[in-house]
């Protein structure tokens, strides 16, 4: 109930703020007419952007949003028709690739030149010199931990995954927690993402130079899998069913002391009903860890941003661009609730304590998630084929060979390999 109340208050605050910020809003949107229809993921920062765009609605401007966790399943189809159902998709560096592969989003250079004066250069996502998206926030996975528990066993916050294993061992031996490590290792997207993080940390390259030919069955790949397996020994035995929602719940319940978690979830980590004071007070954030003596953190950097559909009229494209530019106007940061929702890439953003991890990731030279046209196929293959190894049913080499074979079949089908 408390949680619901909190959520309600937040949305009321957001709504009240929305009217306040956009009281002169129609002036700042300056849209004569057009249709704006946005599809995107669903988390607090994106909801703020969606609400900001909706504030531009008027008698002659229609603004609709469809924010859902299943956005990836519908955005390509919804932008393929002519005119496209969605005039904009909010994407990240992984999901923009599918839209570019299908050629359903338009270059924004002319719109940026005419109406994007307020945008910073580092917000513009350019591909081959053409602006394809406007980013508004950054994200990364990094360490979150229980400072009180680590203090009890007398260790510092781990800087490497090897330290994390050692700390986990101590916590278990001290009898504080049976499974002190949390990990979003659910079969599918999450498991593949953890592989990517760790593989990058070991200095691995996903593809042979400049080609779509996969190459992960190597020493870095085997080390990656062995480290993941070693970590999983300290996880809840159901780890192959745990996505980031489930690991968050484990952390909130006080079952977990160490985990690699998304920055976009850090701010709200302990905002839930029934979280004990121990968890609330002990909750701490640190940068991402390295692994195997490497310098590159075992994590990836992400941006979230918006695009404009190709198959729509220029008037609708202009309306969409203006509405979304207004939605990410730096003035939205005046609201404290909004400013802590994400690491905003907007002028005047003051990092909150919750943003520490993402900043540490960026400063430590982390690698952005690759924007390769075939990276998504490898991600899917990893998610499906690594589970046998994680259950101890096959060797690391066999699992990696299976991933390579599954990827190669998929890449051949999609025309990336001959």
């Amino acid at each position: 109930m408390k949680h619901m109340k909190f959520a309600l208050l937040t949305s009321v605050a957001a709504a009240a703020f929305g009217t306040a910020a956009f009281a002169d809003g129609h002036a700042s949107c300056e849209i004569a007419e057009g249709r704006v229809s946005i599809v995107g993921n669903e988390f607090p920062a994106i909801q703020t952007v969606g609400a900001g765009a909706q504030a531009c609605a008027s008698d002659s401007v229609e603004v609709r949003t469809n924010l859902t966790a299943d956005h990836q399943q519908i955005n390509v189809a919804g932008m393929t028709g002519n005119p496209a159902e969605y005039t904009s998709a909010i994407v990240a560096n992984s999901s923009i690739v599918a839209l570019m592969n299908e050629d359903v989003i338009r270059p924004l250079d002319d719109l940026v030149a005419k109406f994007g004066g307020g945008l910073k250069k580092n917000q513009l996502i350019t591909v081959g010199g053409k602006v394809m998206a406007v980013a508004f926030m950054a994200n990364a996975q990094h360490l979150v931990y229980r400072a009180d528990v680590l203090e009890q066993v007398g260790v510092e916050a781990p800087k490497t995954y090897e330290d994390m294993l050692a700390a986990a061992k101590k916590i278990r031996e001290a009898g504080i927690m049976e499974n002190p490590v949390g990990g979003a290792y659910a079969a599918g997207w999450n498991l593949a993402q953890e592989f990517n993080n760790m593989y990058i940390g070991y200095g691995g390259q996903f593809f042979k130079d400049g080609s779509a030919e996969v190459s992960i069955n190597n020493e870095a790949g085997v080390n990656t899998l062995n480290m993941m397996k070693a970590l999983s020994e300290y996880m809840n035995p159901d780890f192959l069913t745990h996505d980031s929602n489930a690991t968050n719940a484990e952390f909130r319940a006080g079952n977990v002391a160490l985990m690699n978690m998304w920055g976009s979830r850090a701010a709200t980590m302990t905002d839930a009903e029934g979280v004990s004071d121990d968890v609330k007070n002990g909750f701490a954030i640190a940068g991402p860890m390295t692994v195997g003596g490497g310098n590159t953190p075992a994590t990836t950097l992400w941006w979230d941003g918006w695009t404009v559909a190709k198959n729509i009229s220029d008037a609708d494209a202009e309306a969409t661009f203006k509405a979304l530019t207004a939605a990410i106007d730096p003035s939205i940061l005046a609201d404290e609730e909004v400013s802590k929702q994400a690491v905003w890439l907007l002028d005047g953003y003051q990092p909150t304590a919750a943003a520490e991890g993402v900043f540490a990731a960026a400063n430590a030279g982390s690698t952005p998630y690759p924007m390769l046209p075939y990276q998504g196929l490898l991600h899917t293959a990893l998610g499906a084929e690594l589970t046998d190894f994680m259950q101890g049913n096959e060797s690391a080499e066999q699992a990696l060979a299976d991933v390579e074979a599954a990827y190669t079949a998929a890449a051949k089908e999609n025309g990336f390999l001959q």
């Binding site: 996502i125 924007m371 499906a384």
Partner: protein, 341 residues
């Protein structure tokens, strides 16, 4: 019925089936025979909040030219059907030549997506279908003996598992069987093993999915059988009683033969449904342990880059497998029909 009357009677549903079943299947078949064009890749400089990198991307203009030339894509023939993601002809041949024993052949066959899915799907189908029929029959016989004022209530509650949407039903059970859930804790207590988790072992996950499958579809079998029981010939039953038949003998020699056509019907529907098992795998997050052909289709379409041809080929294979699975029952029904006329 006169042929003419039948024609007009059948026309609306026939037309709907043609439009919404036959044509889509044709389009799925054609999709499975074509693949996207070879991507024309170029290396460009990508810039964003984290700096600039040289990265590969698809050359849209060149690809667009290929696409407008041949909108269907490249002709692949049966290529997709035979690749590793489906029948995996080359991989199976290689296994056949190198595997030292039958056991290792089947073991390694299970490493290929299609055969792994078949392994689970067929086990699921052939265990869940008979159990569903038995459970449905048992519930129907039990409810039939209740006094009439209780019947309505009991029927309503027995139907609940079938009314609850499969995804929601499986999600609720998923939480209950969690190591910290009601059922999960009880099983740990009963087995006196605090580390026991239904979700962590393949065997227990399979059993969980099958129990769920029976729980979900038993009400369907029950409703059909219960309706059948209302038409039981009372005189035959009475004469069986006079002849001194026990309750078991009456069920075995009077009730079951009377319900036999319905058993065939339920078996037909259940074989078809169970072969397409999907929702519980998603609801129970069980894809690490159990995969079906429907799950493979979902996985192909759920990635950031969709594999439409692969998903289409798996769909066609599913249709073929269902047809093979149902053929004995269909042949039997056809013979019965011919025997009667």
């Amino acid at each position: 019925m006169k042929h003419r009357t039948f024609f007009w009677f059948f026309l609306p549903s026939g037309l709907a089936m043609f439009l919404f079943i036959f044509l889509p299947i044709l389009s799925v078949i054609s999709q499975s025979l074509f693949t996207p064009h070879d991507a024309v890749l170029v290396t460009v400089e990508n810039c964003g909040p984290f700096g600039c990198t040289e990265e590969t991307t698809v050359d849209q203009e060149a690809t667009e030219a290929l696409r407008s030339d041949q909108p269907l894509g490249q002709w692949a023939g049966l290529g997709i059907y035979l690749d590793r993601g489906h029948l995996a002809i080359n991989e199976v041949r290689q296994l056949w030549q190198t595997a030292p024993s039958w056991g290792s052949f089947f073991d390694r066959l299970g490493n290929l997506p299609f055969y792994r899915a078949m392994g689970f799907t067929l086990t699921y189908t052939f265990i869940v279908t008979p159990l569903t029929i038995l459970a449905g029959l048992a519930i129907a016989l039990a409810v039939n003996t209740l006094s009439s004022w209780l019947k309505g209530l009991v029927i309503f509650f027995s139907l609940l598992p079938f009314i609850v949407p499969p995804l929601i039903g499986s999600l609720i059970l998923f939480w209950m069987i969690d190591a910290r859930g009601v059922v999960g804790s009880f099983i740990q207590w009963a087995a006196s093993d605090p580390g026991l988790s239904l979700k962590a072992s393949t065997g227990l996950t399979w059993i969980t999915l099958m129990v769920y499958g029976v729980w979900h579809s038993a009400p369907f079998a029950f409703v059909i059988f219960y309706a059948g029981l209302q038409t039981l010939p009372q005189d035959t039953l009475e004469s069986a009683v006079i002849d001194g038949a026990s309750r078991w003998q009456r069920i075995r020699y009077v009730v079951v033969p009377h319900l036999m056509p319905l058993v065939t019907f339920v078996a037909l529907i259940q074989l078809m449904d169970n072969f397409r098992v999907f929702e519980p795998i998603i609801g129970f997050s069980a894809s690490a342990h159990a995969r079906s052909l429907s799950w493979a289709i979902f996985n192909d379409l759920g990635g950031e880059t969709r594999l439409l041809s692969s998903a289409a080929a798996t769909s066609v294979l599913t249709i073929i497998c269902v047809a093979i699975l149902l053929s004995p029952v269909l042949v039997r029904t056809w013979r019965d029909f011919n025997g009667k006329t």
